[in-house]
Subunit: 467 residues, 2 copies
C-alpha cells in the first residue's frame, strides 16, 4: 500500500525540455544520477525519478517553469533538500523537478520585529548560523538540515515545538508560485491579521500540491539568556509519560521534552559510545532567564523524582548539551546500526497527550508479538512519537510485517483521537489513511480546493490528496 | 464606501419560509424587531435585516437550513452574538439568518489534554465560568462576550493574544456545515498534525463565507498560579511604545500589554470615576509562578523607568485587577460618552512592531489636523491598535471625514507592511482594502476557493472576498 511504483510515466515532451534548456542552459539536467537523487527521499518509500531537474534561482524562474509545464501538461515536483520521509519528492507521474536549493538568499532580518524573509532554499542551520550574532534564533528543528521551504511545505516541527510551535506557527507569510504561474504573496509582517482567508496556512503543509513556496517570512525568537539540559532515566515507560503529562499540565515552559525508549538508549550508547542507563529516558531542555531556568528545573526534578527517577543528569555547559542533542539527533542512524546492512522505515503519529502512554504501551506490546526491530523516540510534550522499523529490504515478509504493524499503529492513533502524522506529512506513504482520519466529507473539501487551484493536477500529483 | 445599503434584496420565497416553518415551527421568526437586531452588529456600518431568522440547535439542523436555502438560491448568514465590528452579519442580499446562540452545550473538557469541545453558541465568559473549578481557562478575550463560533469566524484575538495567541492558534478543530449541507470535521485533538490541508485555519477567519462553524475544539491553558497587573503612565507616546518594543524583544512573557492614549485615559477617568494620570499609559498583566511574575515585573519596571515612568501603580489583588481591566474594556463606552448622543465607529489596524510608534504618531498628527474626536487604544504587544471615531451620525460631513481619515490610516498601515485589520475582520467595512493588502493575484486565489466551496455564492454574500 505504501510502496507505489512510478504510477503512470508522463514523459516530458522534447519540446518542453528544449524550451527549458533554452531558458536555463546548464541549470537544466537530465543526468540519471541527478534524476535518481531527486526522486528518492530519506524514507523507505521507493523513489521515482523526474524526467529532468531545473535549478531555479527566483520566483520568476519558478513561474517560468510552471507556465511551460502547464503548456505541455507535464507534472511539476518541488525539491528542497530531499529529506522528506513519506515519499513527497517521488515523481510518481514523471515530470519536471524544480530544485530550489540554490535559492539561498537571506533577504531581510529585523531584530526589532523578530522576523526575517528568506528564499525557500535556505536551510535551518544556514539561517541559524547567519542569526548567531543578532541575538535571535529560528526555533523549528526537525533534525535534518532541511530547507525552510520544504519544512513549510510539510508543516515540519521537531524537538522545540512544545515551546515554540511548528511551521504553522512561525511562518508569517509566503511567496508562492501557483499552478497557473501566478506569483502570490500571502500573510505579511504584522503579528496578526483578520484580513481574508489564511492562504499562508493553507499552503503550509500542502506539500507542493497547491503551489510552490519560493520565499518565506518567518517569526524568530530571542536567544535565551540561559539554557540547561537534563537526562532523566525512568524505571518504566508509563512513569516517564505520566511525568510529561504533569509537566505540560502545570504549564512549565520546557523547550524540549524527548522520550527515548530502552532500545533507542541501547542504540545510542553503542553508536555514540555513551553510558546512559538503558531504560526509558527523557531528555529535557530549559530556556529562559537564569532564575526561571533554575525554577523550572527544580519543578521538573521534583516531578520526575515522584515518578521514580533517582539519577537526574545535568548538561549545563554548551558542549555537554550539544553532545546530548547530537546523540538524540543521531538516534535514527544509531537505530539502523543495531542491524548492520538494514534500512530504516521511520513512521510518525500524534495523539492527545492523555492517550500517549496507552498508545505507546499498546504499540510496544504489538511489537513484542512481532519479529520487527523498532526503536521508539518521541516529541512527547506534543503527544508525537516515531518508530523506525529496521528492515532487511530484500525480505518481503519483513516488509509485509512492517506494513501490518504500521497500519495497526496508525489506526490505534486515530482511534485515540490522534493523527496519522504529527510532522512527517502525507506524501504518498500516509495517503491511505487520510479518509479514515478526516472523513470523506472533509476529504471532498480538500479535493475541491485542489481542483480549484490546480485543475490540471500537475502540482506534485499523487501526493497528499487521495484521488 | 463602507456604508453599503442592502445591495440587492433576494427575498426568501414563501415556499422556503413554509418549509423552514414546518421544520422549526416557533424557532423560525420573521418578526421585524428580531430581523433588525440580527442584521445590525455593534459597528457603525448600516445593517440589513435578513428575511427570517432560524434558531438552530445542532449541526444537523444547520445542515437542513443550508440545504433548503440552496434549493431556493437564498443567501445564508450565520449569527452568534451580533458583536462583530465590520458589518459581518448584515444581510446585504437578504436571506436566512441562522442564529447559533442557542447552541450552548459544552460537550467535553479534558483537563489532562488542556482542551475542550463546545457548540458554536457558547460564549467565552460562559466557557470560563464553566472552567473555573478545573484549573484551566480559555485565553482569547476580545472584550465583548462573543460566541466562540463567531470569534473563530472572525479570527478574533484581544488583550491576551500577545502571550496566548489568537483564535488561529487556539482552535484545534471544527465541525462546520458547508455550502452543500455536508457536515465536515477538521483538525482534531492531537497537538499537531501534518495530515493534509489545514481546513481548520482556512475556516477560522472566513466569516461564514466558506462554511458555518457549529462546533469547536479549543486549546485551554492552566490558570496561572500568580497574576499581577500594573498601570504605567508615560511622559509621551513614543516612550511607551519603545518600552513595549524592548519588552517584546527581550521575550518577557507578559500576558497583556495595552496602550491607552491621553484622550482614552481622560475618557475612562470620567466614565469609571478614576484618577489615572491623563497621559499615554500602558496597562500590563503578568501570569506565572510567584517567582516568575516577580521577576518579569522587575524587568518591566526597569525598562519603563528607563523610558521615563515614575509612577508604576500595582494591582495585585483580584478586585483591583478586575477594576483595571473593566476600565480598559469600558474604554469604548467611555469614549462615546465624551460626546453624548454620538455613535462610535471603531477601526483596527496592525503593523510590525518596529513601525508601531511611527504609525500611531502619524495617525495622531493626522487627527490633530482633523475635527474628528478619536481616542486610541492598542494591543501593542502585537502591533495592533484601534481608533474609535466618535461621530454624529446625522452629519454627512463628519462621516465623510471619518472615512477619509480611516482610509489614510489603513493605507499608512499597509505601507508599513501591516494589515487593514488585526482582529475585527473584513465584513464589508474593510472589503475595499483587500486588493491593496494582498494583491490581485492572492485575491484571485481567495476567489477561486470561495467559488469552489460555495459556487452559488450563498454563504454570507458580499463579505470578505471582493467580487
Amino acid at each position: 500500500m505504501s510502496h507505489h511504483p512510478k504510477l503512470k510515466p508522463v514523459t516530458a515532451p522534447p519540446e518542453l525540455l528544449a524550451a527549458l534548456q533554452q531558458q536555463f542552459s546548464e541549470r537544466l539536467t537530465t543526468r540519471s544520477a541527478i534524476l535518481e537523487r531527486h526522486g528518492k527521499d530519506e524514507s523507505f518509500h521507493p523513489g521515482a525519478p523526474p524526467d529532468a531537474v531545473v535549478f531555479a534561482h527566483s520566483s520568476a524562474e519558478v513561474s517560468t517553469v510552471v507556465r511551460l509545464c502547464q503548456q505541455y501538461g507535464t507534472p511539476i515536483i518541488p525539491f528542497g533538500t530531499g529529506t522528506s520521509l513519506e515519499g513527497q519528492i517521488a515523481a510518481l507521474y514523471g515530470g519536471i523537478c524544480i530544485d530550489l536549493s540554490q535559492m539561498q538568499q537571506i533577504l531581510r532580518v529585523s531584530v526589532d520585529d523578530l522576523d526575517c524573509t528568506v528564499q525557500a532554499g535556505v536551510t535551518r542551520k544556514q539561517l541559524n548560523t547567519y542569526l548567531r550574532d543578532t541575538g535571535l534564533f529560528f526555533s523549528v528543528d526537525p533534525g535534518a538540515d532541511a530547507s525552510l521551504g520544504g519544512m513549510a511545505a510539510t508543516r515540519a516541527s521537531g524537538t522545540n515545538a512544545v515551546r515554540y510551535g511548528t511551521m504553522k506557527d512561525v511562518v508569517l507569510g509566503l511567496t508562492a508560485v501557483m499552478a497557473d504561474g501566478q506569483i502570490i504573496r500571502t500573510g505579511g509582517r504584522a503579528r496578526k491579521s483578520s484580513a481574508g482567508y489564511d492562504l499562508t496556512r493553507l499552503l503550509v503543509g500542502s506539500e507542493g500540491t497547491l503551489g510552490i513556496i519560493t520565499e518565506l517570512t518567518l517569526r524568530l525568537y530571542g536567544q535565551p539568556e540561559a539554557v540547561s539540559a537534563a537526562v532523566c532515566p525512568f524505571p518504566e515507560l508509563r512513569a516517564a509519560i505520566d511525568a510529561v503529562i504533569q509537566i505540560i499540565q502545570l504549564g512549565i515552559p520546557v523547550a524540549r521534552i524527548e522520550l527515548l525508549d530502552a532500545l533507542t538508549m541501547q542504540a545510542i550508547n553503542r553508536w555514540s559510545k555513551l553510558d546512559y542507563p538503558e531504560t526509558p529516558t527523557l531528555f529535557f531542555e530549559f530556556h529562559g532567564s537564569q532564575r526561571s531556568v533554575t525554577e523550572h528545573v527544580e519543578q521538573v526534578r521534583e516531578i520526575t523524582t515522584e515518578f521514580g527517577v533517582t539519577d537526574f543528569r545535568w548538561a549545563v555547559h554548551e558542549e555537554d548539551r550539544n553532545a546530548l542533542w547530537q546523540a538524540r539527533h543521531d538516534a535514527y542512524y544509531a537505530s539502523l546500526a543495531l542491524r548492520p546492512g538494514c534500512q530504516g522505515w521511520p513512521t510518525d503519529v500524534c495523539v492527545p497527550i492523555s492517550r500517549l502512554a496507552d498508545c505507546i504501551l499498546a504499540t510496544q506490546a504489538d511489537l513484542r508479538s512481532s519479529t520487527l526491530l523498532a526503536p521508539l523516540v518521541g516529541h512527547v510534550g506534543d503527544g508525537n512519537f516515531h518508530l523506525v522499523y529496521v528492515l532487511n529490504p530484500e525480505d518481503p515478509a519483513e516488509l509485509a510485517e512492517a506494513e501490518r504493524v504500521n497500519t495497526r499503529l496508525v489506526q490505534r492513533a486515530l482511534a485515540m483521537g490522534g493523527t496519522c502524522t504529527g510532522e512527517h506529512g502525507v506524501g504518498y506513504g500516509k495517503l491511505p489513511f487520510l479518509a479514515q482520519e478526516h472523513g470523506e466529507e472533509a476529504l471532498a473539501v480538500m479535493r475541491a480546493i485542489k481542483q480549484a487551484l490546480d485543475p490540471q493536477q500537475l502540482l506534485n500529483p499523487g501526493k497528499l490528496v487521495p484521488l
